[in-house]
Symmetry: D4
Subunit: 249 residues, 8 copies
């Protein structure tokens, strides 16, 4: 509820159209629905331009379905991330029109195809083949939020000429999401090539002192290129979301 809405209620009170008790309840009743195991934030799409997204890990299939059904009444798109195949199957048994991407472990339901909202193209790059699931989660999220998205996979720094082959695509993107595990060097190199914001996503790909992605994360945070900001390890969703936010600035 913003300043403008408040004034409107107050004016209604001043003119007697609304009683004090009723106005007080309206001001205090923030827009969220309590279904015992969840408080659904129905105002989020109003406030942020995109509805709440269901984080599937640690929720039962029943809880995911329950939240989805409440949201489908009010939204045109609902995403559930980190939903494994078994839970996804249960969801689709109940909501058959939802689709599931096994790589990205994401359930997507929508009323109609996404309407283009972003201005430029978001480019997703991954350093290795094993980073594709995370890259795909970023891809689907940004796409669901109404953006043109492109992706190039396996262009890590061990053979840096593979990256340079895609220089034109890199130069013309409005935002870049760069996904890498192991030493996580790719975002630095890419960011050094362009004057665009780069969202870096460390992945847990690697072994030994990859430390489950911490090494890639710390490397990216220490990037000697300045147009880099970072999201959590394996957080393709957050990167796609952030890229979408930037693409409509």
């Amino acid at each position: 509820m913003d300043q403008h809405s408040l004034k409107k209620i107050l004016e209604a009170v001043a003119t007697g159209k609304t009683g004090v008790e009723e106005a007080s309840r309206a001001i205090h009743r923030t827009a969220c629905e309590d279904i015992q195991y969840a408080h659904i934030d129905h105002h989020r799409s109003l406030r942020k331009g995109f509805p709440e997204v269901i984080y599937g890990q640690g929720k039962t299939a029943g809880q995911i379905i329950g939240i989805m059904e409440k949201m489908m009444d009010q939204e045109s798109v609902v995403l559930a991330t980190r939903t494994d195949a078994a839970k996804a199957q249960a969801v689709r048994n109940k909501i058959p029109e939802a689709t599931y991407d096994a790589d990205a472990q994401m359930v997507i339901w929508r009323k109609h195809p996404p309407i283009l909202q972003g201005k430029g193209t978001i480019l997703i790059l991954s350093a290795g083949t094993s980073d594709i699931p995370v890259a795909r989660e970023a891809f689907l999220t940004a796409e669901a939020m109404g953006n043109k998205v492109e992706a190039v996979y396996d262009v890590g720094v061990a053979g840096i000429h593979r990256l340079f082959r895609h220089k034109e695509m890199i130069d013309t993107a409005s935002v870049l999401v760069v996904v890498a595990g192991m030493e996580g060097a790719l975002p630095s190199v890419v960011a050094g090539m362009v004057g665009r914001p780069v969202i870096a996503v460390p992945t847990s790909v690697g072994y030994g002192v990859s430390l489950g992605g911490l090494t890639a994360l710390f490397g990216m945070l220490n990037s000697c290129s300045s147009n880099v900001a970072v999201v959590n390890i394996d957080n393709g969703f957050g990167a796609g979301y952030m890229a979408a936010m930037i693409n409509r600035v």
Copy 2:
């Protein structure tokens, strides 16, 4: 054995009612029962107002049953925490009047319903749906210790108006237990709203640099609000216990 009891024994010795050998044994025989794999601390309820609680993890079902049976002779309530479904089933086969809460993984046996001991209401808040099991462990513990307990789930800071909807309940609680994973910001915000003690419980909910709950833990210990103290990651039991102790100060 306190100062008073000692004097009584010494007086018995002085008047010849008790012999030296016998008194010496009595003084040294502290109140605990040795059943080989455990030393049951029968004086704990005397000393602390609530009996020893069985930590089920790393114990066999047989050991849990053995300890419970010894305690049931002397106590009116016995709890076993972190007891998985299979062990719980074995316990209930032997002790059918015990109940089991699958969310909280807790076995509860009692002679009679708990007698109210705490003065105010203990309020349990959780940031997300996935934090409910830990919140529930706190709930059941505080309730078993004789308190009025209320709970509100999924009111994290990503949509902070959801929290404000419950302001009255928050304002009237005598002690608050706030459960949160990921960045663990909820206890700071809640503690900033009230002049009551807040027990913060970090959970292992999250991924990447949630570091199994360390991030939430460290965040809570660094809270910029001062009326916050913290318990171990996922330690709903300890939070409920501590809240009960505070509620009868």
Copy 3:
């Protein structure tokens, strides 16, 4: 601003005593004063029963003085923690009626002696001589917040009979603050003796794998006694504050 205050303003609007614009400003103007480098939270003492406390570290003497002077208009007690001797001297040159405790590194200003608000006695225990500064910070904070406070120092577990000498004082306290560095074992032992809430404060006293207090902190969080909650390393202030909150539950 609570529900009650809001209704009062709305009633004033309804009866025409207050105009819409004015009421809207009043609702939005939360009670905090902006002095450019700080937003002083004047409503905190109303909300929490004790005013904002100035964290001296990382602030200049000038900033501390500026904030103190604004607060002295509205409060009866002002604390500045982690204020080194040089800054404290500068503060006292400007505000001579403030006192300074060099051990606790705390500046205290008050209009009148503290009025007793807590019901029982808060007991501060320290494991070693080197832990005294932190223990003292807890002592002064709890005292300033209107409590009867007692302290016993250097009763660590290497000679546990030293602790047992003070058993009566321990048994009669309503809340205990236990301060320890190195392995941090004292809170567990003390909490095992009483049925009262224990606030454990790890200190950075030690070397090698004391890890600047992390070892004591983690030990305390893993306490096998359940009536223990923990604050940040060296955070005597927070422990005293929390104990005061508990003591008036």
Copy 4:
């Protein structure tokens, strides 16, 4: 050197205007100047829209001056970050038209006032007074890169109503930079309020388990709000740079 430039050289070769040897040298001679202790990247402003920035830490005053003088020939603005007062004095003795901001530890030289390039307003928020130096580094960087910048300090979550006072400014910013130490909760709360990209900057403000800023960093990476990306601890410069990049998408 992009595809277009290469074609131009090749055409010159084809038409005989340029010899093979000369063209080969031109292709290989990338645009950087070697002054022994540094390879100045003169093409960076061409490539990224802003020239190389000198990282003052670990460089001597002489090296900073040497690099600045080479850059001043070709650029209209030169920044040197993390330059302490002594080095800054030496720089300004040699280059008197450079200015120095002691809070941000930044030397700025420019030929003419910055030309506005960003479309919206960048808003800098800090949780505490001690976070101001980092916030100021972000401010000056974004400003030097041609943006309208505003700042609000000391609006942390311990008294969250202070933040809500500035809701209008928050709602109208195109990009937000949120600076916080300790538990680092502010970016989550702010990002939950807006549909704009938030760049979170953890600071090393705090003690104990603030772990030099790691706790704030990890908390921000685990934000339950999705429109947050993070830069290195105390990296105000990077945040301002990234915000500027976003503001001209």
Copy 5:
């Protein structure tokens, strides 16, 4: 091969009883048998008073059997630690006279009952029931090395009077092994009671910030009692071995 043996060979060379080539070979041929996947150190019992012990983890059953059979030719006792039930079964199928302790996961073969070598009694204490497997590994190792061993389990500091019940046994032991997980406080308390060497064994029992035993380990290394030395997490074997070494000093 010691100084004395070398002189004997040299004298044989001097008197012509041994040729140069043969002596050279004898000097270089150290006493170890190469069976491709292992170099069995047959001189270890000569050198250290107890033969090599087989670390079962990461070895196949076949490798364990192969090494055991080679050792049984030359030794009167062979131990294989960290051998799970399946491997142990395979070993006992081949070597039926070997015994297996499932708690300690240890295979023991011996020609004859152990001959008493240690002078005093080694006492094993465990803080909790869950620590028994590690305590048992220490017990069996020290016993196999020819010592009188006694054990008391579940006497942790949450009810410290349980420990004091066994004071006489504690006072008369020549060496003590103290096993504890969680906060690992027991060794400090025990060592404060006696003037005997205490070998502390941290266990991985616990959750959250027990950090797989690191917290107990660090706590023990920071013990404020000085007669404590520590072995690796869960290393009951090493503790029993070290105690046996001390008991025959």
Copy 6:
């Protein structure tokens, strides 16, 4: 593409043999094949003397086969590391002439036996029996790259005379790969004996504070012998590769 190749193309352009468009494409078309989930770096064997090696972890069997088949067209040897038995079986069903080493988890395909390229002998040493899989990965890699390789296993420092038995082999090797877990002391001792480069490989063998190999890794990086460089934990492949590179310097 090197300087020489570039001149040749430019000369072709100058003499009209190649058109501008065609030359431009040739310069930009770097030698890598895009098969959607991978960019195969066909020039790597030209550039580095050995083709790209497939990292099997995180790739499906189908992806491994797809990449292998593309590479088999152009290379005489193809390795796939970290390929478990199930994936290896799938690969060999499709490419029966490939061999699989279960210890090293490596698939090897080659057109013809390796041609000797290295000058001296590479010696692989392992501290324990459990380190053999990692040692074997180094062995097979170095062998596949055309080197004479020898190996000695289980010669750790607990019985250091076992190592000295192989002194001649150690003294005559041109490069040494030393594999060790636990405390990782073997490389220091070996490097102290020879004037040759030693590649140290930490393994994850151990428990407790072996920390999954970090302790061995850090120990090796701190070696008091200077002719030691280190690779990632369990990275036998990297060690064999590096040794091969050194052996042909």
Copy 7:
């Protein structure tokens, strides 16, 4: 107070020699002296065979002197460890008969030369020259506790033959203290040579991933030799103390 003393008092009560009140006081009055900033444990020498040792770090010179003077009344030797030169000077101004060892940073006062209590010889070995201060602290402690002590410095594993030169001394020692920084490999090698207990002391000597001694510590705890137990980083005092305890078993 042991079982025997208790009986004596009880007999005195039984025979009327001691009144109940007096006996009760005697039993509860444990032998410790409270001088406000310290509780001196006067019974420690009775209980453990050596008096309390003053840990100088974090105590003022005045506090050290105060404790020393109280102890000198009752003990024949007093040690103060980790006492820097300035504090030591202040102590010696007040207590001139105390001596100071600048390497070990230890103040020693004694009534008479130490009386030999240990049976064998304690041998102190250090890996490097920089480890000497820690080794010396162990030396002086063991010597003050009544032992024959010998020391050999700078015999690390980079040139292992230096160690073997002292084989006879190593073979004849009853207990060994081995001090090493960096990779901390020396205790493993030494323990592999003897059948005696080895106390390993990690030092903070090193840089980079020596991690202030953590690497040496972890290496020693993972020793592949079993007759090794470990004390805290730089804890020469604890190692000397433990060795003395062992030497009189």
Copy 8:
């Protein structure tokens, strides 16, 4: 002493030229000189091709001089690393013919200019200007060991074309030492360009999550290029030494 030398002594014994006692002494007297605070390893140059190098940190100037003087009798070159300016001045007062490099903090004494021993050229690359001191330490070490060495500084990945300018020098080096702080990405990129061994040196240059060089170290150990091995943080000396060892394989 090798197999050959041993036989010679034994033959002398057989022929009576050498007595048994004398031969025994000769065999046991390993070549090291004991000057109390150090055991100088005079055989190291024989064994490893280069004499012991003095690690200056933690040694007094007097100790450095003492060791240098003993070594100068027997060696043609002596290095002392990590020697600060004050100690270096003291050394040069005593040994004026020694030189000092303030960047590398290294004292070098030699009888005559180094004789070329390595076959190819060692190339030192640094990512930034601040990495030069570490790079210089590598340079001087490799040069002192008889190698042709070249260096290029400040060619990090933020402007990767700067690196490609030096492609010819990179392609023709026989061994490469690559020095980088922050994210440490340069060695991966360089190693991807060449078929030569790359020694990577992480530096402590950076702030925040550069973690004193750990991030660069871990990044380098996770390099997706395989011809990389790593030395300790800031260990330019070790990298130069290792490169020299490789250059004479």
